[in-house]
C-alpha cells in the first residue's frame, strides 16, 4: 500500500474521478469547481497527472468502441480508490490534531 501525501492537482483529479468516470475537459471543469476556482489546471498538468496515475494503475481508461480518440473517459480503479481513502484518512487525522492544538492554544 502506498502511503504518502498527494499533490493537490493529483488529489483533485482523483476526487473528481471518484464520483464518476470523466473525460479530460470534464475533469478540468470539475477540479475548478471542487477547489472553488482556486486550482485551474492546464492541459499539460492534467495529462501529466493522468499519465502517472495510469502508469501506477490508480486510474484506467473506459474502453468503448463509440468513444472518439480525442474524448476518452477515465475512471478510478480499486487501487486508486483505496489510496484515495487512505489519503483522506491521513488528512482527517491531521485536521483533527490541528483543531485540537489550536483549541488548546486558545484556551
Amino acid at each position: 500500500m502506498e502511503t504518502f501525501a498527494l499533490s493537490e492537482p493529483v488529489l483533485l483529479v482523483l476526487l473528481s474521478l471518484a464520483e464518476q468516470p470523466r473525460h479530460g475537459y470534464a475533469i478540468l471543469k470539475d477540479v475548478e469547481s471542487l477547489s472553488g476556482g482556486r486550482v485551474l489546471l492546464s492541459t499539460g498538468t492534467l495529462y501529466g497527472a493522468l499519465q502517472r496515475l495510469l502508469d501506477r494503475g490508480w486510474i484506467e481508461r473506459v474502453e468503448e468502441d463509440s468513444t472518439p480518440r480525442d474524448r476518452r473517459t477515465y475512471r478510478l480503479t480499486l487501487r486508486g480508490r483505496r489510496n484515495l481513502q487512505m489519503e483522506i484518512e491521513r488528512m482527517r487525522h491531521l485536521t483533527k490534531v490541528a483543531a485540537l492544538r489550536i483549541a488548546r492554544k486558545e484556551a
Binding site: 492541459t43 499539460g44 497527472a49 502508469d55
Partner: protein, 187 residues
C-alpha cells in the same frame, strides 16, 4: 494562431506521449479556449497557464522517460532550508540549454570539417580554428556560470556555515570548540 503554437509546443513531448495524449490534449485545449470569457486578462492568464504547463509537462515527460518517474506523485518534501532557490533552477536550465547548444554546434563544426575537401579545408583552416576557439571560450563561460550557480545555491542553503563545525576527529584530538566558534553556538 494559439492552436498552432499549442501544436508546436506539443512537439516538445516525447513521441510516445504525443501519440497517446496529443489528440486529446488538443481537443481539451480547443474546448477550454472556446469557453473562455471575453476579458483580455482571462485570456492572457489562460494562454500563459497552458503554454507554461506544456513546457513543464514536456520537460517532466522527458525526465520520466530518461530516468524513470523521478518526481513522484507526492508533494515536494525537501526541507525548505535546503531547497534550491527558483533563480538557481532557472539558471541551471539556461546553462543546460547552453551546453546542449554548444555540443550541437561542435558536432556541426566537426561534420563540416570532415565533409570539406582537403584544399578547401586548408583555406578554411583558420576560420575553423577561430570557431573552435570561440566555442572553447563559450564552454569556459558556461562552466564558470555553472560553478557560480552552484556556489550561489550552496551559499543560499547555508552550506558555507559548515566550515565552522568541528568534526569528530578534531573534537577528539583538539578538544571541544570554544563557545561561540561553532555555528550551533550562534543565537
Amino acid at each position: 494562431m494559439a492552436l498552432t503554437v499549442y501544436c508546436w509546443l506539443l512537439c516538445l513531448y516525447p513521441g510516445s506521449c504525443r501519440h497517446e495524449f496529443g489528440e486529446e490534449m488538443t481537443s481539451v485545449f480547443r474546448e477550454a479556449r472556446s469557453a473562455l470569457p471575453p476579458a483580455l486578462a482571462a485570456k492572457i492568464s489562460f494562454y500563459r497557464r497552458e503554454f507554461c504547463g506544456l513546457l513543464s509537462g514536456a520537460l517532466r515527460a522527458h525526465l520520466d522517460r530518461l530516468f524513470g518517474p523521478v518526481i513522484p506523485l507526492r508533494r515536494f518534501s525537501m526541507q525548505r532550508q535546503v531547497r534550491f532557490p527558483r533563480s538557481t533552477v532557472f539558471l541551471m536550465c539556461v546553462i543546460l540549454a547552453g551546453l546542449v547548444l554548444a555540443i550541437h554546434k561542435a558536432q556541426n563544426v566537426v561534420q563540416m570539417k570532415e565533409s570539406l575537401p582537403p584544399a578547401t579545408a586548408t583555406a578554411w583552416g583558420p576560420v575553423l580554428w577561430g570557431l573552435l576557439f570561440a566555442l572553447a571560450l563559450i564552454l569556459a563561460a558556461v562552466a564558470a556560470a555553472a560553478a557560480w550557480g552552484v556556489l550561489f545555491a550552496l551559499r543560499r542553503t547555508g552550506m558555507h556555515r559548515l566550515d565552522g563545525m568541528q568534526t569528530w576527529a578534531e573534537h577528539h584530538w583538539r578538544g571541544p570548540t570554544k563557545p561561540g566558534n561553532s555555528c550551533f553556538d550562534r543565537k
